[in-house]
Symmetry: C2
Subunit: 218 residues, 2 copies
């Protein structure tokens, strides 16, 4: 029987060892390496050349998405399965764009993880059922909106940039100086952002920016 050679990457050691224990119960699986961050995962991929890489999405140094890009660049035949705790629209999109073959939630069962590994190894895509629907609506949105400016948040790139600066605590004046534009322009963008998001206070904008990972809380 063909063994499926697997690399496991998760920054939480005890969780990673739990996965190893779980996956070793499957006799066709062989865990060839573990990594505790994205950087290490890329190195171990180059060294051990696994069939499937299971990547936790939130890792220090290089996160799951960034690691996916590098691994795919190294060898696009290696299949990547992303493990995530977020059932967040944008993440799913990002992950597949980066070249992953599967995306499953940590809420799913061990049996599903095993199934997902087998599927991506066969060259198929695998999605947690509760995630699948996002891709469909996402696809519809892409078709509807084409490639025209506005993306996930409904904000233009410039608006996103300004939202980020607002959420980082900058005043309109500081933003204007930083971007070499007039305060009035910043005010207009700010107004537009508020209209589009239907959020009319800085605290709300900041929470939104954090929840959408435009900025970090700390």
């Amino acid at each position: 029987m063909e063994m499926i050679r697997i690399l496991l990457a998760d920054d939480h050691t005890v969780v990673r060892q739990g996965f190893r224990s779980l996956l070793e119960e499957e006799k066709s699986f062989e865990i060839v390496a573990e990594a505790e961050n994205g950087q290490e995962a890329v190195l171990m991929v180059e060294k051990t050349r696994p069939d499937v890489v299971v990547l936790d999405i939130s890792m220090p140094v290089l996160n799951g998405v960034q690691a996916t890009v590098r691994i795919q660049k190294f060898n696009s035949k290696i299949k990547i399965l992303i493990l995530s705790m977020y059932k967040d629209e944008e993440y799913v999109r990002e992950v597949f764009h980066a070249g992953a073959s599967g995306y499953i939630l940590k809420q799913t069962t061990g049996a599903e993880l095993i199934k997902a590994i087998k599927e991506v190894n066969k060259g198929n895509a695998y999605l947690s059922p509760s995630i699948a629907k996002y891709l469909v609506t996402d696809y519809r949105e892409i078709v509807k909106e084409g490639k025209s400016g506005r993306r996930k948040t409904g904000l233009t790139p410039r608006e996103l940039e300004i939202l980020q600066l607002i959420a980082e605590g900058n005043s309109n004046k500081k933003i204007a100086v930083q971007l070499f534009i007039s305060i009035k322009t910043v005010e207009t963008h700010r107004q537009k952002i508020m209209d589009v998001l239907k959020i009319h206070d800085v605290a709300g904008l900041t929470r939104y920016a954090i929840s959408k990972r435009i900025i970090e809380a700390k």
Copy 2:
């Protein structure tokens, strides 16, 4: 040999099953139940009366700390081990105050998890090494500050309450109405909060409130 009866609670099914697989390798352990949130954990404790409860700290419905309080109220002889991804000062404090016997990070190894379970079962406390130092400094702080009002953040209870309302997007006027106090009082508190935290914009206050878990981003 005495078996140690264990209840596992973690909202991420695949992670929980990984833990089960890992812990079942230890012949003196018996996993008597699993729960996917704090509420369920409390119910299962009442039904199965385990020796040790392993609680993930971040769970929906009831989080690890809240579940700890209820379980201890039900039967204080049941030992509780908190699993957390945060090596956050305040969390550690909160957890032990709630009645937990151990606090270990997900960064630690499976071997350490097993050791921690055995220790708390014997009635000892267990802390991840990298966490232990917090308790020491914490103890010093408590001694230094006594029980005088100001705590971790340097804010009074009232100031914390107002910070929360600010970070939730309320204006001074709304806060005043909500708390049945004058706008002027709210302004004074707001000023005091900004002085104490040395943060002089709403975005910064909001990020601070999220990072200190006073509010949530979403």
